[in-house]
Amino acid sequence: MEKKIVFSEDRLIKTKEIIERYPAGKQKSALLPLLHLAQEQFGWVSAPVMDYIAEILNIEPVEVYEVTTFYSMFHLEPVGKHVIEYCRTGPCCTMGGEEVYEHLKTKLGIKANETTTDGVFTIKEVECLAACGWGPCFQIKEQFYMHLNNEKVDEIIEELRK
């Protein structure tokens, strides 16, 4: 059954506040903040979600599509409960990131852009997260997991599986 796409009460208030902070007529500036709000509520950014945001901002849907496809943070397909965004860039690799990444993939039995069959974990590869000296690292939503090694990865996964 299709559920109607609509922001929760508190996000509707937040939406209004966000739009009002830009100069009159420049409400399109609210696009990225609203996409983040939407992903937070709906888990991913589907076409109906994009249409909904276009409607709120009074812009064409295509103006939303072309933005979501440009930026890497928006999930354009359904994802697992926890999306592990793993840093694959040079400095983290220097800190041992590649070995830890192999361990993570083996442990979960999935590759990048895949979701475990129980729907709990998705792995995405991302670029430098501005945490190089604290690497290897990954991010799940707002949380950074740093100074990773195989044991730490095991602990984090067990904890999140609970």
Partner: protein
């Protein structure tokens, strides 16, 4: 030289310094009081000019000069936009500064906005740092409640609203015109220049874009004066710089150093990086973020003419791209002898190809080519002509693009081949060994 000057991080270890009251107790917001009550905007600009502070985002353009270029047409709003997109591999200092000292940035934003006559200013933070955005928003709320933001600040008649804007995940949005496009709710495609942001920036209005660290520095400059600031550092590299250190060193992290510190001291002294991890030696360093040329240790420690290299804009670029590099954003990536230069170069190329916005064909196609060729060399399918092919592609990108991302993609490849050509050749001649991830290429120790 005194190496302990702390302009930005003096109070970073004070418990609770992220809260307004604690920050205020340690002299926080004095610069706002001084600037708004005792100085004119022009005087603030003048102090920053005298300080000689150069933009800390990578290009090193003098901040006061940039401010004085801002167009001031009647009746048109002006904007200050803080660049907190920090996505250059190897760089994590702005993340650190905003997380631990959010009020320092807010204070810097207030005095800088006042100097530029901006009444609405933005901090554009990369979207991955949503938790930092929340820290900043809390700090803004506190500052507002204390009367340092909003309408009629401290009764001076000056109004300022600060807005924290999230990005969406795109390195290119760190380029200032791409950032402005993104802030307008569009794809982050860099604009053609001219017009420069100082004339037509955000919403086609005059705009200054400055890095987090640059703006935070304005606070100290206002409190202590531009002349005092200019006494710190060396030559035209005035002041201090935050260095993000990563890789095979004993103590990775963010360091505030006085510009002019000898590179050797920075790497080996216990006060800083503490040397290379035990049992290993330094092979190469990328000294200013992934975009700058990589240097083998002997050229990093000494210039071609044999002088000890210093952590300064001039010293690091001594020798040009033949034997030098750049201070850039201060992302110091140290690699010991276990590092495979080919693999690292391929990794960076993959990064730039992934992050190219695709507007100009030399960048779009060239970064793709370089990634492909480096991938095949690293994975044991390279051929003898590939190295020259890479040099050729890098040359064709350089200088032929709308924004500097093209150059940033070309330099790491060109410099890696220049300084480590034998390693690329070795990979081509030993295809099976080369397929091993992180293949070890042992070399004679290049310095004692």
């Amino acid at each position: 030289m005194a190496s302990k000057v702390k302009i930005l991080t003096e109070h970073i270890n004070v418990p609770g310094i992220e809260n307004f009251d604690v920050y205020r107790k340690h002299g926080g917001y004095n610069a706002v009081e001084k600037a708004l009550k005792k100085m004119s905007p022009e005087e603030v600009v003048e102090e920053v000019k005298k300080a000689g502070v150069r933009g800390r985002g990578g290009a090193g353009f003098p901040m006061g000069m940039k401010w004085s270029f801002l167009a001031k047409p009647e009746g048109v709003p002006r904007y200050l936009v803080c660049n907190a997109d920090e996505s250059e591999p190897g760089t994590f200092k702005d993340h650190y500064l905003m997380k631990y000292l959010p009020h320092l940035l807010i204070e810097g934003m207030i005095v800088s906005s006042f100097a530029l006559g901006a009444n609405k200013s933005f901090i554009y933070v990369r979207g991955e740092l949503m938790y930092v955005i929340k820290i900043l928003e809390k700090a803004i709320e506190e500052a507002k409640n204390a009367g340092f933001l909003g309408k009629n600040i401290l009764g001076t008649g000056y109004d300022l609203e600060l807005i924290v804007q999230p990005g969406g995940g795109a390195y290119i949005c760190g380029e200032e015109t791409a950032l402005l496009e993104s802030l307008e709710g569009k794809r982050g495609n860099p604009r053609n220049k001219p017009p420069f942001p100082a004339v037509k920036g955000l919403y086609q209005c005059p705009t200054v874009v400055n890095n987090v660290e640059s703006i935070a520095t304005a606070t100290w400059i206002i409190n202590n004066g531009g002349d005092e600031y200019a006494k710190i550092g060396i030559g035209r590299s005035t002041g201090t710089k935050l260095i993000s250190a990563s890789g095979h060193i004993k103590k990775p992290g963010v360091y505030e150093i006085e510009l002019g510190l000898p590179v050797e001291e920075f790497i080996y002294s216990d006060e800083y990086l503490g040397g290379v991890r035990n049992g290993h030696y330094l092979k190469a360093v990328v000294a200013g973020g992934s975009s700058v040329p990589i240097l083998p240790t002997h050229l990093l420690l000494k210039t071609a003419s044999g002088e000890g290299r210093l952590m300064s804009y001039e010293s690091l670029s001594d020798g040009g791209f033949a034997t030098g590099t750049m201070l850039g954003s201060g992302g110091f990536i140290a690699m010991d002898e276990t590092t495979c230069i080919v693999r690292n170069t391929w990794n960076f190329s993959r990064f730039y190809h992934h992050e190219s916005c695709g507007q100009c064909s030399p960048c779009r196609e060239g970064t793709g080519w370089m990634e492909k060729v480096l991938h095949r060399i690293e994975h044991g399918h390279g051929n003898a002509r590939d190295i020259d092919l890479l040099v050729d592609v890098a040359k064709k990108i350089e200088g032929n693009t709308i924004c500097p991302l093209g150059d940033a993609a070309a330099w790491p490849v060109a410099s890696a081949i220049k300084h480590f050509r034998d390693e690329f050749e070795w990979h081509i001649k030993n295809p099976s060994a080369a397929t091993k991830p992180g293949a070890v290429f042992l070399k004679e120790e290049v310095f004692a």
